[in-house]
C-alpha cells in the first residue's frame, strides 16, 4: 500500500472529483463530506510519504510501471514531501473552516464548487510530486484553470479580475512550456533526473541558456514576482473569501517550489548560480519586490487587498532568499514556503470570518471588534505577529534564516529590505489592532434600521480551525530547528555551503 503513496496523492483527489460531482447531483449535501474524506485521505497519504522519506530516503514511483526516462516518474525527496504536507494541511484546514461560508455563498452550486476545489488540490499536489517536466506543465494548468474558475465564481469585479489572471497566467505557463520545449530539443528527454544528467555537457549551448531564461520568466509570472505581479492583488482580493484563503496560501508558494526544483535539480546550482551569474540581479529584484509590496500594502485601507500586497512582498522574501545561493538562504526560503502557507491561511481565514460578520472589508469598519469577536481577533493578532516576525511564532525563524543568509552572502541590501518590511508590517497590523481594540464599537448601518451590534463570533467550526492554525504557527516556530535539521538540510544538494 505505502508503495503507491506518491500515486495516491493525486489519484485520491482526482477520483474524488468525479464522485463529488455525481454525488452532488443526487444530493448536494453529499459534496462536503466526500470532499472532506478525500482531502483527509490525501493529507494522511502526504504525512505517510513524509515519514517514509524520513526513514528510507527518496521514494521513486513509476506510473503504470514504465521506468523513466520513457515513463513518467514521481520522485519524492525531502523537499517535496515537506511542501506536500503543507499543501495538504492548508487544503484540509481551509475546507473545514469555510463550510458555513461556502454554504452561504454557493448553496446552489456546492457540487461544482467542491469539484473545482479538489481538482485544484490534485493539480497542486501533482506539481509537487512529479518528476517529469512536461507532466508538471499539465498539472500546473489543471491547478491554474480550476483556480481561474474558483476566483471567477463570485459576483462583482471577480470575473474581470479572473479574466486578467487567465491572460497573464496563460502567458506564464506557455513560456514555461516553451522553455521545456527547448530543453527537449537539445536533450531528447523530459524526465527531470535525466535532464540533470544530460544537461551539464550542453551548458555552453545558447539553447540551454534560452531555456533557462524563458522558464524562469514564466515561473516568475506565475508566482507573482514583483514586476509581473499585476494579476495577483485583483484576483486574490476580489475572489470569494473561502477561495482567497485557499489560493492565496498555496498557488504562489507551490510556484516558488517549482522554481527551486527547476534551479537546483534540473539546472544544477553550478549552472544557475555560477555560470548564469544572475544571483545578484535576482536578489535586487527581490529587494524591489519586498519594498514595493510593503509600500503598496501601506497605501490601501482594505483588509484583503492589504493582505494580497503582503503576499507580493513575501514572494520577494522567498525568491531573494533562494537566490542568495547559500545554505542558510535556501533553508530560509524553503522554511518560509511552509511557514508562509500557514500564516497566509491563518490571516485570510480570520479575514474571511471578520468580513462575513462585519459585511465590509474596509479597515475603518473594524472598530471595537475585539469585544465582539475575541477569538477571531486573537487569532488574527497571532497571525499578524507571525507575519511581522515576533519570536515564538514561525515567521521569526524563517526570517532569521533569511537574514543570516543575507549576511553570509554579503547582501546587506536584502537584509535591510527584510527589516524594513518587518517594520512596515508592524505598522500595518498595529493600525488594525488599534482600530479594532481602542476605538469604540460604532454602528455604521444604524440609519438603515438594523443594528450591527448583532455582530458576534464566527461559526463554531471556523473558530476551531482558526485556533488550530494559530497553534500550528506556534508549533512550526518551536520545531523550526528540527524541521531545518531533519528535513530541509537533506533537501538541499550537498554542494551548497
Amino acid at each position: 500500500m505505502s508503495a503507491h503513496f506518491p500515486g495516491l496523492v493525486i489519484i485520491i483527489p482526482l477520483v474524488a472529483a468525479f464522485l463529488i460531482l455525481i454525488g452532488a447531483l443526487l444530493d448536494r449535501r453529499l459534496a462536503f463530506p466526500l470532499t472532506a474524506l478525500a482531502l483527509l485521505g490525501s493529507l494522511l497519504t502526504a504525512i505517510g510519504l513524509l515519514v517514509k522519506v524520513l526513514q528510507t530516503g527518496v521514494v521513486e514511483y513509476h506510473l503504470a510501471g514504465w521506468a523513466p526516462p520513457v515513463g513518467i516518474a514521481y520522485r519524492v525527496d525531502h523537499l517535496n514531501a515537506l511542501v506536500l504536507v503543507a499543501v495538504a494541511t492548508v487544503a484540509f484546514v481551509n475546507l473545514m473552516g469555510t463550510r458555513e461560508l461556502v454554504k452561504g455563498l454557493f448553496d446552489d452550486r456546492l457540487g461544482p464548487f467542491y469539484t473545482l476545489y479538489i481538482l485544484l488540490i490534485a493539480g497542486l499536489q501533482g506539481i509537487v510530486v512529479t518528476g517529469d517536466a512536461f507532466n508538471l506543465y499539465v498539472l500546473l494548468e489543471i491547478a491554474a484553470l480550476t483556480g481561474y474558475a474558483l476566483v471567477g465564481m463570485s459576483e462583482g469585479r471577480a470575473p474581470l479580475s479572473s479574466l486578467n489572471y487567465i491572460f497573464i497566467g496563460t502567458v506564464g505557463a506557455s513560456l514555461y512550456l516553451l522553455g521545456v520545449g527547448y530543453l527537449y530539443l537539445v536533450t531528447g528527454t523530459l524526465n527531470m533526473a535525466d535532464l540533470a544528467v544530460r544537461l551539464p555537457a550542453l551548458y555552453p549551448s545558447k539553447v540551454v541558456v534560452s531555456a533557462f531564461v524563458i522558464c524562469l520568466v514564466g515561473l516568475c509570472i506565475k508566482m507573482g514576482f514583483f514586476p509581473m505581479h499585476a494579476w495577483l492583488p485583483n484576483a486574490y482580493s476580489h475572489a470569494p473569501d473561502p477561495v482567497s484563503s485557499l489560493v492565496a496560501p498555496l498557488v504562489t508558494k507551490v510556484m516558488i517550489y517549482v522554481m527551486i526544483r527547476m534551479m537546483l535539480f534540473v539546472f544544477t546550482p553550478a549552472f544557475a548560480f555560477d555560470q548564469m551569474a544572475i544571483s545578484e540581479p535576482m536578489v535586487w529584484l527581490a529587494i524591489v519586490a519586498i519594498v514595493a509590496g510593503s509600500f503598496m500594502a501601506l497605501s490601501t485601507r482594505r483588509l484583503k487587498r492589504m493582505l494580497t500586497y503582503i503576499i507580493v512582498a513575501e514572494v520577494g522574501y522567498m525568491v531573494g532568499g533562494f537566490w542568495l545561493g547559500n545554505r542558510l538562504g535556501i533553508s530560509g526560503a524553503i522554511l518560509h514556503i511552509v511557514n508562509d502557507a500557514i500564516m497566509t491561511l491563518c490571516v485570510f481565514l480570520s479575514a474571511a470570518a471578520i468580513i462575513s460578520k462585519v459585511g465590509s472589508d474596509a479597515i475603518d469598519d473594524m472598530q471595537g471588534l475585539f469585544k465582539k469577536m475575541p477569538v477571531t481577533m486573537g487569532v488574527f493578532v497571532v497571525a499578524g505577529l507571525s507575519i511581522i516576525g515576533v519570536p515564538p511564532t514561525c515567521g521569526f525563524f524563517s526570517k532569521w534564516y533569511l537574514i543570516s543568509g543575507a549576511v553570509a552572502a554579503g547582501q546587506y541590501g536584502f537584509m535591510a529590505a527584510l527589516l524594513l518590511s518587518s517594520l512596515i508590517n508592524l505598522v500595518l497590523f498595529f493600525r488594525i489592532f488599534e482600530i479594532a481594540y481602542f476605538e469604540p464599537f460604532h454602528d455604521h448601518h444604524g440609519d438603515h434600521g438594523h443594528f450591527v451590534s448583532a455582530v458576534q463570533e464566527a461559526p463554531f467550526e471556523m473558530l476551531v480551525t482558526l485556533v488550530v492554525t494559530a497553534v500550528l504557527l506556534f508549533a512550526l516556530g518551536i520545531y523550526a530547528g528540527d524541521i531545518v535539521s531533519q528535513i530541509i538540510d537533506h533537501a538541499i544538494p550537498v554542494g551548497i555551503t
Binding site: 512536461f134 506543465y137 499539465v138 494548468e141 484553470l145 481561474y148 474558475a149 471567477g152 459576483e155 469585479r157 470575473p159 474581470l160 479572473s162 479574466l163 487567465i166 491572460f167 496563460t170 502567458v171 506557455s174 512550456l177 516553451l178 520545449g181 527537449y184 530539443l185 523530459l190
Partner: protein, 132 residues
C-alpha cells in the same frame, strides 16, 4: 544579408512561431476588446504547439509505423532516423486539450462579464466600474 536570409530559410519554423507569439502578445497588450485579447492568448498557445510539432518533423522521412519505414519485411533493427519523432506530437495532444479548456474558461468569464456590464470593451467596463 545573404547569410541572414539563408538562416531564415533554414530555420523558418522557429521564425514562424516567434512571429505568432509576438502577434498574440500584441493582441493581448494593445487590443481593448476582451474577445480580441482572448484570441491573442489562444494564438500564443497555438504558436507554442506549432513549435513543438515542428521540432518533431524531419525532411523526407515517414510516419512512425515500422512497416512504412523499411521497404522489406522489417527483419533489421528499427532506424530512428527514418521516422518523424512522434513524442512532441503526442505531448501536444495534451497541450491542445489544455488550450481548449483555457479558451472555454476565458469565454465563460467573458459571457459573465458581458451580462454584468453589457459590454466587452475594457474602457467602457472601467467607466461602469467607476460609476458604481
Amino acid at each position: 544579408m545573404e547569410s541572414l536570409l539563408a538562416n531564415f530559410l533554414a530555420k523558418y519554423n522557429y521564425w514562424v512561431y516567434i512571429g505568432l507569439v509576438m502577434i498574440g502578445m500584441y493582441a493581448m497588450i494593445a487590443k481593448r476588446n476582451l474577445v480580441k485579447k482572448i484570441i491573442g492568448m489562444n494564438i500564443v498557445q497555438t504558436a507554442v504547439i506549432l513549435f513543438y510539432v515542428s521540432i518533431g518533423a524531419k525532411k523526407g522521412k515517414t510516419i512512425p509505423i515500422i512497416a512504412h519505414g523499411h521497404e522489406d519485411t522489417g527483419h533489421h533493427a528499427v532506424q530512428a532516423l527514418d521516422y518523424i519523432s512522434p513524442l512532441p506530437h503526442v505531448l501536444m495532444l495534451t497541450a491542445i486539450v489544455v488550450s481548449v479548456a483555457t479558451l472555454g474558461v476565458a469565454l465563460a468569464l467573458a459571457i459573465k462579464i458581458y451580462r454584468q456590464y453589457g459590454t466587452l470593451e475594457e474602457d467602457e467596463i472601467a467607466m461602469r466600474i467607476e460609476d458604481q
